[in-house]
Amino acid sequence: MAESLTKAEESWLSKATAWPGQYWMLVVMWIRSSLAYPASFALMLLGSALVTGLDFVAVLLMFSHIETFGGFTLAEMGLLYGTASMTLGLADLVIGSIDRIGQRIRTGELDVWLIRPVSAFLQAAADNFALRRLGRPLQAGLVLVISVAALEIDWTVAKVLLLAVSLISGSVIFAAIFVLGGAFQFVSIDSAELANSFTYGGQQLTQYPLAIFGKDIVRAVTFVVPLAFVNYYPVLQVLGKPAPLGLPSWIGLLAPAVAVVMVALASLAWQAGLRRYRSTGS
């Protein structure tokens, strides 16, 4: 018993240490693949930069008419927007390709992945890795830097730490939603858009103060799909604003715990999906 336990731990450990290298190897292959069509790559990069760039301009235009929005000033909105955009951008960059899994199942390419000595999950995450997705985190970084500089708050070590940790846990929550969406495609091959409404759609939602959407929405993104933990609750904590629904103000501190739960769910769902595929062959 003790021996088998150490064995399991060992294999888990060797897997975890092998993953970054394997992921990077696949990513490099896909980047080089995309560079095989330089004109297409350049246009996609430009298009992506324009779209994400214009995204925040909409917020700026809105603030040319109003002073505050849902109790948030422009700089505070910038912090909210920047964290939403950064977390989705990072998750999308690293793991967003997993939403192509349905297509890979349909064409039978998943079988090719399954005969390789690298986890199918890594191959799905790196599938057609799109470097152009780097545009969003860069834009988000710019918005964040400017907003933080414009904010008039006392930055304590605790607040900086909270912001940094919430960027990581927020990215992980979005990543878990991407994986859940991918896992669901094992059941329903054409469901990529469903997951997109929670990821890309989720970012559209979380870039605004959630209180403006009404209590039902806030409840849904707190207790059902925990998008409020991506950035809203941590940012409220950083800005010293009260939480909605009479929730305690320290709720933002729960973001890492929520991320851990989401990862566990996503991992179970992915394994179940793959098991289903391997026992039905469809």
Partner: protein, 317 residues
């Protein structure tokens, strides 16, 4: 010690069909109670009509699919439970889709496979050099895979499947769509790999010439059941398909009458005489030469197509 062992393996699928508003589910057994073993270094042809269960078997042997019942051991492990570990010890070629990176030069795919399978650099270089020479890949290494012809891509795929020195290679219709020259070259290469490296090869194919050229053993399955397992000569003999002697005489003659033989066709001085597989051709030829003005003759073996058609027909009786 067998390198592949199947014991009473079955794989059922649930098929949902819709007629109008009613959905009916029924269970289809793609593979039904299959048992066999393969020894190291064997080259086994695995044949059967479409939907016979060939691909399902291969998918179970590689660990992609989990069997519904029965037990499988490949290279000493259960493939579905140790899929990633087994992956390093097997090679797979899917004839109809590539494992190579579509937009990258062939050599890039080979390079990433070296890392993926953790092949020691020196060993990789050695293997690559051998395969480049034997499969004539030298001019193709810098060409993106999407620009390769089907035959060239297949050669690339086969090299890719062998670079990590697998003990077992599964080839799913490797010669599909290739011209005669490419087919012949591929078969020659596979025979060489088997002879020099002792690689066990399982080959599914619709091309019976592949079997004839490569396989020391043939297994025929139909509707998930094994209907034949043995050598090609035994398969031929078991079906009692008659052989044919094509005889050219000096002049036209009435049909030759020799007990145990039948003339099936005459065309001027040429006659087609069929005789059982168990009869030796030499005394027959001597007998004919003694009584008739024999000019030339040819013995033709029954085609595998006819034997297998026969086999399927019997299995369905």
């Amino acid at each position: 010690m067998p390198v592949i062992e199947l014991e009473n393996v079955s794989r059922a699928f649930t098929v949902t069909s819709r007629t109008g508003l009613r959905r009916t589910r029924r269970e289809v057994r793609a593979v039904d109670g299959l048992s066999f073993t393969v020894e190291p270094g064997e080259v086994m042809g695995y044949i059967g009509p479409n939907g016979a269960g060939k691909s399902t078997t291969i998918k179970m042997l590689t660990g992609i699919l989990v069997p519904s019942s029965g037990s499988i051991r490949v290279a000493g492990v259960d493939p579905s439970r140790h899929r990633l570990k087994l992956a390093k010890r097997i090679g797979v070629v899917f004839g109809q889709r590539t494992t190579l990176w579509w937009d990258l030069p062939l050599k890039d795919s080979f390079a990433v496979l070296q890392k993926m399978y953790a092949v020691p650099r020196a060993r990789h270089a050695e293997n690559l050099a051998t395969f480049v020479e034997l499969l004539d890949l030298g001019d193709l290494l810098d060409v993106p895979v999407r620009q390769l012809s089907l035959g060239q891509r297949m050669r690339g795929d086969i090299a890719a499947a062998l670079l990590h020195d697998p003990e077992i290679v599964y080839l799913d219709e490797p010669t599909i769509g290739l011209d005669i020259v490419s087919k012949a070259r591929l078969r020659e290469f596979l025979a060489q790999v088997n002879a020099e490296r002792g690689t066990t090869i399982i080959l599914t194919t619709h091309d019976l010439d592949d079997i004839e050229a490569l396989c020391s053993r043939v297994m025929v399955i139909d509707h998930g059941h094994q209907v034949f397992d043995g050598t090609l000569p035994v398969l031929r003999a078991s079906q009692n398909a008659p052989r044919t002697l094509i005889i050219d005489l000096a002049t036209s003659h009435p049909p030759i009458t020799i007990p145990g033989t039948t003339v099936t066709k005459t065309d001027g001085p040429r006659q087609w005489l069929t005789f059982p597989t168990t009869t030796s051709a030499a005394p027959l030829v001597a007998q004919i030469a003694a009584t008739y003005p024999l000019v030339d003759l040819t013995v033709t073996e029954p085609t595998i197509e006819s034997i297998i058609t026969n086999l399927y027909a019997q299995a369905h009786k």
